[in-house]
């Protein structure tokens, strides 16, 4: 663990670098180095708190006009009387509270430390930490505390390497939401890309972007982001069907409800259709309004079912385990845990760590596993994290192993729509007859 490192860290190895850092401050480099070395000794127990306080007190006063190191001996006043036999209670307290594993205690010290301690002695410490790759403490420990205040942000980690294109998730999504034929809220693309022999899969739910363009452009606030958990939803009772959300979305995840949802909607209970705010946001949309993947909002309302979505259940049932849904702000959530596991797995078996048996200095752990967010450069801040290959700009969709026709309805919605208004009426769940494809997509 990186936490043990401050004690083991050999300062001399890195003294030159340290000096470089100190030189950039306006303060005395020699004093800083001396302080840092003694701070090491203090922590290792080679030096008493009183000695440490006495050793540099005058120099510090000279340099900074005040000595604000968080040491009791300083507060006691008479430094001349300090010797080795002085009651070590203060030091013990300081050190016992100084468990380097405990972020809280360290932050406490940091907080109490004045400019001197912060810039100089602990500055050296911080450097040692980052050298050892201890950054993840910042991420998990500190960030988690902050994120508790942020609330939930539901999202997905999707392991594309585990997907075999069975489209069981699409099927389950339709079962759950009764969307019309071809309105593939959940969609799995099989594709081929330059430089790769095998076909890859891209599982494409709505990305539930934090900076969602669809939400921004909606003229009536029907498309909105639910505050409690960051789901991007459409209020079917408000939507005017202008379809600007679909125009603005870079991912093409929106599907307009061209015809009457009919039985599809009647089959759904009010509890399933209205979320805990009483807004009509779940399931198949009303005629003339916009629909898309919702991340099953009524499931998220109930603490019992929170963290479950139909597609993930189906994927798990198939034994694939490609979809991992949950609160991305919670380090204990399934997507974050899965990401951790996969990283750990790669660290153990992966190509990077045991290459030549030497790991010069492992940079960030993210490098160990290939993750990406879809079209991240569009600035949408999506909440779906993919593990696996990212489709390149010239990638082309190909036929997947399982056809959309029949089982989940249709691949291409336009084919259904071109059948006209009458086709739409039976374009619901059961009937997929009469759907023709104009291209070589049949299987």
């Amino acid at each position: 663990m990186s936490a043990d490192l401050p004690l083991q860290y050999d300062f001399s190895e890195d003294e030159e670098r340290m000096r470089g850092i100190l030189d950039e401050t306006e303060y005395d480099t020699e004093l800083g180095v001396a302080l840092a070395k003694d701070a090491q000794k203090l922590i290792a127990g080679e030096l008493s708190e009183a000695e440490f306080a006495a050793r540099h007190h005058e120099a510090i006063i000279e340099e900074f006009e005040t000595d604000e190191r968080p040491l009791e001996a300083l507060a006691d006043g008479d430094l001349e009387e300090v010797d080795d036999d002085t009651d070590r209670k203060g030091l013990k307290d300081a050190l016992s509270g100084f468990d380097p594993d405990d972020e809280q205690s360290r932050r406490e010290v940091l907080k109490k430390s004045g400019a001197v301690a912060g810039v100089l002695s602990l500055g050296a410490w911080g450097t040692a930490e980052s050298m050892a790759g201890g950054d993840d403490e910042e991420e998990s420990g500190v960030a988690a505390a902050d994120e508790d205040e942020e609330g939930r942000q539901m999202g997905m980690v999707i392991d594309l390497e585990r997907c075999d294109g069975c489209i069981g998730c699409v099927d389950a999504c339709r079962e759950e939401n009764n969307w019309s034929s071809g309105a593939n809220w959940m969609y799995v693309l099989a594709y081929e890309d330059e430089g790769r022999d095998d076909e890859d899969f891209l599982i494409r739910p709505c990305q539930h972007c934090t900076n969602a363009p669809c939400d921004k452009v909606c003229p009536v606030n029907a498309r909105h982001t639910r505050e409690e958990d960051g789901l991007v939803l459409t209020d079917y009772d408000i939507c005017i069907g202008c379809r600007y959300c679909q125009v603005a979305c870079p991912y093409g995840v929106n599907y307009f409800q061209w015809g009457d949802p009919g039985e599809g909607m009647e089959a759904m209970s009010d509890e399933h259709r209205y979320d805990d705010r009483g807004r009509h946001v779940d399931g198949v949309p009303l005629k003339g309004t916009m629909g898309k993947c919702t991340f099953c909002p009524t499931r998220q309302d109930d603490p019992e079912t929170r963290g479950s979505v139909a597609c993930m259940e189906a994927c798990d049932a198939m034994g694939m385990g490609a979809i991992h849904f949950g609160d991305l702000n919670d380090p204990e959530s399934r997507p974050n845990q899965y990401l951790e596991e996969r990283r750990a797995e790669v660290r153990t078996n992966g190509p990077h760590t045991d290459e030549d048996g030497v790991s010069p200095h492992s940079s960030t752990e993210e490098d160990d596993i290939s993750t990406f967010k879809l079209l991240e450069d569009k600035g949408t801040d999506p909440n779906v994290i993919y593990i696996g290959n990212e489709p390149g700009p010239n990638a082309q969709q190909v036929d997947g192993p399982v056809s959309y026709e029949g089982r989940v309805g249709a691949d291409r919605r336009k084919d259904v729509l071109d059948e006209g208004a009458d086709a739409e009426a039976n374009g619901n769940h059961e009937s997929t007859t009469g759907v023709t494809r104009g291209d070589g997509h049949e299987h």
């Binding site: 452009v217 909606c218 003229p219 009536v220 870079p250 093409g252 599907y255 005629k287 700009p393 291409r412």
Partner: protein, 439 residues
Amino acid sequence: MAMSTRVSKDDILRPMRRTSTEYYYVLAAASVAIAIFAVAYIIQLQHGLIVTGLADWGSGGGVTWGLYIGAFIWWVGIAHGGIILSAAVRLIGLDRYKPVARLAELLTIGALTVAGLYIIVHMGRPDRVVTSIIPAFPWTVHTSPLVWDVTVITLYFVMTATYLALTIRYDVSRMREDLPDRFDPLYGLLLIGYSEREDEVIERMVWWLALAIIILAPLLLHGGVIPWLFALLPSMPGWFGAIQGPQFLTIALTSAIGGVIITAAIFRRVYGWEHIITDDVFKGLTMWLGLFVLLFVWLQLQQIIGGVYAAPVDQAAATEAKLSHPVYWTAIGLVLLALGYVFAQGVRPSIFSIERSLAASVAVLVGTLLEKIFFVVEGLLYPSFSLYDAAPGDYFPTWIEMASVTGTIAIVVVFFALVAKVIPVVELHAIEELQEGGK
């Protein structure tokens, strides 16, 4: 000015005094077109937007915005010219065009009305237009370009209508006895509180209104909120970018001048106004048409060069698709034909004729309508995220959508036909000036 000596008040009263058989034919034909549009819209209300050729882009294949939005932009563009021309007449003393100023203002009102109609026609849930838009307005006006559009178009409509209502008082007050009696209550309404002392004040108010319109229309409307509907979306390479503002404005002005030329030519022909709307006016308008077409084509060139030389993958694909589509070249071809004519008559004035200018204007209007629809459709067909096998899909408007184009044109025709029977469509000021010029 031999002709202008014959100008009299009677000339501009002629539409109200004489109604030809052809007038009824035109009304009847227009009514049929409107009726077809109405039937089409009722069918759409019954079955929903599925009766259009629209679909979902993405895995669905197709486009979600098409002819309705393209035609909407086209009409707003035409609406531009009218009032800008009229405002310019007042503001910088382009007196030459005063005889067509009111026709231009009326074109603005008519075109804006049908543009507004398109917003409704395009909606999946038109029943919610009031209940959904108004309550959300205070928030969405900060964020949604579509709401900016509705806001600015409304503002523009109010300003133009105010402008027209103010300037018409002068004419109606002086010609009231000659105007048809059956509209007396309307004239009474138009003249509420009128006294001759207000003329000067009105003149100043209208000047300021004209100034506001001149600033607002190009910067905010067609050089602003309308192109921003598209230009602010980074996901569609055919749309995104700063050039759409100027590009939209040049196309708008092109179609607007075309619209004014057609309207003026028809009125001149029907009511024998050769001495009022003189050849000189048409020559001038034709030159303006040429200038705006030139700018239009120049900005197209900018986009093409940028899109083929070393463009990003998505933009290159969008440009290539555009350049290989016959609709694009039909639109550009029509516009270039008009440009060729304007150049030719500039070099050799004998080439000019009203009929040819009229033909050039029709070419320009057809070209800009095609270009606008094509712009909307192509943008959606070629998204950045082009992985979908269904993208680009295809789109072809159904008769229901097409009926809206003929229907809205017919609405504007009927609007002019009716308004001409009620108020003078040429300003009395214009007549007075022509008379003074002649004496």
